[in-house]
């Protein structure tokens, strides 16, 4: 009962940003998918000439969802950043921490409520739009060949990167070090993780990097939060 009240409150706080990100992604994704449909159509006319060496560029093709990729990446990271700021930086400025913390519920579950609210926000808002776009891209009459499952998983990896940025912002928000020393390190670590993930080519490698980073950030967030320094 108490945890669900906290969760509802946190979700209510993330709602505007959730919707904004989802609508933006839907609009951009949909628009570019339509544009790609036109280009995809004329790929069916082969441009290879007999008896010549085929350059490998003519054989490697972007998945039909490729135009939506950069937007998906930016929007999910932006959403993570904004949620982190909304949940951990703003209570410092409006000084509502004591009012939130003095509750008949353990301090850990207050933090758990915030984290799960952000998780639900990211997954529902971006995840649902992504599934919609992926289903649309797989419809045979629109595009000649269906998408690979790997592209679908990569979409979810972008959402996970958004969550890593969210955890990074949360850690920076919670850390009581002054800004010119280790306060910003949470975010810097998140960007380092993004760079590492983008340079992995196997899914196993990507999941390993994300798992390690989430573990490192989560442990520190819980420790800083429970050490009651503010």
């Amino acid at each position: 009962m108490r945890f669900s009240a906290l969760l509802r409150k946190e979700l209510r706080e993330c709602l505007p940003w959730m919707l904004l990100a989802a609508i933006a992604f839907l609009a951009l994704g949909g628009f570019f998918l339509r544009a790609k449909a036109y280009y995809e159509g004329d790929r069916l006319y082969s441009r290879l000439s007999p008896g010549t060496i085929v350059d490998h560029y003519q054989l490697t093709f972007y998945p039909t969802l490729n135009f939506t990729g950069p937007w998906f990446f930016c929007l999910s990271i932006g959403l993570g950043l904004v949620l982190g700021i909304r949940q951990f930086w703003i209570p410092h400025f409006t000084r509502t921490w004591p009012f939130l913390l003095h509750r008949s519920i353990s301090r850990k579950s207050i933090l758990a409520a915030k984290l799960s609210a952000a998780l639900i926000a990211c997954v529902i808002s971006m995840g649902s739009v992504w599934v919609g776009l992926y289903w649309y891209a797989n419809r045979p009459e629109v595009f000649p060949i269906p998408q690979t499952v790997r592209v679908f998983i990569e979409g979810w990896i972008f959402i996970m990167l958004g969550l890593v940025v969210y955890l990074g912002t949360a850690l920076s928000g919670l850390s009581t070090a002054n800004w010119y020393t280790t306060k910003i390190f949470g975010l810097v670590f998140a960007t380092f993780i993004i760079v590492t993930t983008l340079s992995q080519w196997t899914l196993v490698g990507i999941f390993a990097v994300i798992a390690v980073s989430v573990a490192v950030l989560l442990v520190q967030i819980f420790d800083t939060f429970l050490r009651r320094e503010y």
């Binding site: 007999p50 008896g51 010549t52 490998h56 009459e141 990569e154 899914l203 429970l226």
Partner: protein, 537 residues
């Protein structure tokens, strides 16, 4: 609460790990910036050019120069021709270059425009790397550049309308075919076409592939090399032919080449005369052996010439060996001292090179047909003796990088570092980090060790009043000693323990512990002034 205590024990190491990682990156970026600044402002030192102008060349020197610059070709019967293009002042573009053809004992056979040469020379097998899609490109293709990873899709089309598209699945290592309205046709594995996923056997770890369109069709056929196999896949006829299987060691892309294997249009790039040459494929494996695979008739031979280039005409198979006493024999090359001594003796003396033509019989034996050798003057080059061969600036900049890099180098061993430096892994993120470590490692510099010691002393003085427990204090000392500047920054970043003047003994003490570090006195309570009104009613 149990969770909090154990949480704290996990949290501090992760915090130290994260801070250290970021600070190490910051320090190396700082060093990179300094090196870049130095590189842009340092003037490019002119290398002393040893080549004398054309006029003063003596007759003998001219001859040596001509031989060195001329291209050496072989005729089908084994005679050698030296084709020399003299250096001329640049004239109009459309004027063809003049070519002079000499034979082995230096008499001029023909002179005239280059493109109308009367003789037809042997053409040799071409290295595959130029046209092929290597493993490194495959890795880059699968990386998550902010868009998605790309796929290899082979279109099978008649005239110019695509009917089928075959997509390669890197994870499962087979091809899956779709027709244009999206239905699945089937799979192509190493055993050929199957319609069920289970029967499609994977090709194996991807090495490289090269693709070309045969003369009669528009859909490409692929030469697909994996770790131990080479397949030729024809998507239109949906058949897979295993061309070569190496028993024990992997195939290396640098040492595979082919000649007249692809039936290309006569004029197209990379094509060769089908009537004269037999299709030939050479695979070099890691253990140094070369395997010749020929067709019409199908034949497989083994060669153990170090760097052969091979061609196979209808009648017989030729091997050309272009070598010189440039590199010391294998046993000397192994150890560093012998290598330095050998290079020392040879400095200044001219080097002799030779080119040999062999004929290969059916069992792989070599029979020397023709050999031609010539000498080349050796420019004197100082052999760098210093332990740290890097330029001065890099040596000084790397003095602030952590000594930990030196130890970590020995930790990983030679095989890892050779793979890191191998050009194939250029794109790999972790290998590039490893190369960065190699680049700015302090090489055990004295200044580096002195700096570390100084920082350790500072941490000792800084930490003494602030220490909470002995192991923590010693840990930080070792940490700063091991990580130099990065360690110091991490220490300062994480140990913000305030210091106050201990009211009892007057000396500075940290607040990490309740009792004073020096006089073990508790934080004294303020004296109960008689003016206080404390009543317990």
């Amino acid at each position: 609460m149990k969770l909090k205590i154990s949480l704290k024990q996990i949290a501090t190491p992760t915090k130290i790990f994260m801070t250290l990682l970021i600070v190490l990156l910051a320090v190396s970026i700082l060093q990179g910036i300094i090196l870049q600044i130095e590189r842009t402002f340092a003037h490019a030192k002119q290398r002393p050019s040893t080549t004398k102008p054309e006029a003063e060349l003596t007759e003998e020197e001219k001859r040596i120069d001509r031989i060195r610059n001329s291209a050496k070709y072989f005729l089908a019967d084994g005679t050698i021709h030296l084709v020399h293009k003299p250096r001329r002042t640049p004239t109009r573009i459309d004027e063809p270059e003049i070519a002079q053809i000499y034979d082995a004992n230096d008499n001029l056979l023909w002179e005239g425009p280059d493109n109308r040469r009367p003789y037809r020379y042997l053409s040799w097998a071409m290295q595959l790397r130029r046209y092929s899609f290597t493993r490194e490109r495959m890795k880059q293709m699968q990386m998550l550049t902010p868009g998605f990873s790309r796929n290899i899709e082979i279109p099978v089309s008649s005239y110019n309308k695509t009917e089928q598209i075959w997509r390669y699945y890197p994870g499962a290592e087979y091809f899956k075919g779709y027709n244009t309205n999206g239905e699945k046709i089937g799979y192509i594995g190493s055993t050929g076409f199957t319609d069920s996923k289970l029967k499609a056997k994977p090709f194996g770890k991807f090495g490289f592939f090269t693709a070309w369109c045969p003369q009669d069709s528009v859909s490409p056929t692929l030469l697909w090399q994996t770790q131990r196999h080479i397949y030729q896949i024809d998507f239109e006829k949906q058949n897979v032919e295993m061309i070569f299987e190496s028993a024990d060691s992997d195939i290396e892309i640098e040492r595979t080449s082919l000649h007249a294997w692809r039936d290309l249009k006569p004029g197209a790039e990379g094509s060769s005369d089908p009537k004269k040459y037999r299709p030939l494929l050479i695979c070099g494996t890691e253990d140094g052996k070369y395997h010749l695979i020929l067709r019409e008739p199908r034949q497989q031979l083994n060669l153990d010439v170090p760097h052969p280039s091979v061609t196979a005409t209808k009648k017989n198979i030729f091997v050309r060996n272009y070598w010189g006493d440039v590199m010391p024999p294998a046993d000397i090359a192994g150890s560093r001292e012998l290598f330095d001594k050998w290079m020392e003796e040879r400095r200044g003396k001219p080097r002799n090179l030779w080119i040999e033509l062999y004929k290969v019989d059916n069992q792989g034996g070599l029979e020397l047909l023709n050999r031609y050798d010539w000498t080349v003057p050796e420019p004197s080059m100082a052999v760098v003796k210093a332990r740290d061969p890097r330029p001065a600036v890099k040596r000084y900049v790397s003095q602030i990088s952590p000594p930990f890099y030196d130890y970590v180098l020995r930790l990983f061993g030679r095989k890892f570092w050779s793979r890191a430096l191998n050009y194939q892994n250029r794109g790999d993120f972790f290998y590039s980090l490893a190369r960065m470590v190699l680049d700015i490692q302090p090489y055990g510099g004295v200044i580096n060790r002195v700096l570390s010691a100084l920082m350790m002393i500072f941490v000792f003085l800084h930490g003494w009043p602030r220490r909470a427990s002995w192991p923590k204090f010693v840990f930080w000392l070792v940490f700063v000693g091991l990580f130099n500047l990065a360690g110091l920054l991490t220490y300062l970043g994480l140990n913000h323990i305030a210091v106050i003047r201990c009211p009892v003994c007057g000396r500075r003490r940290g607040l990490a512990q309740v009792d004073c570090v020096r006089c073990q006195a508790e934080l004294p309570a303020p004296e109960k002034g008689k003016l206080d009104l404390i009543f317990r009613t």
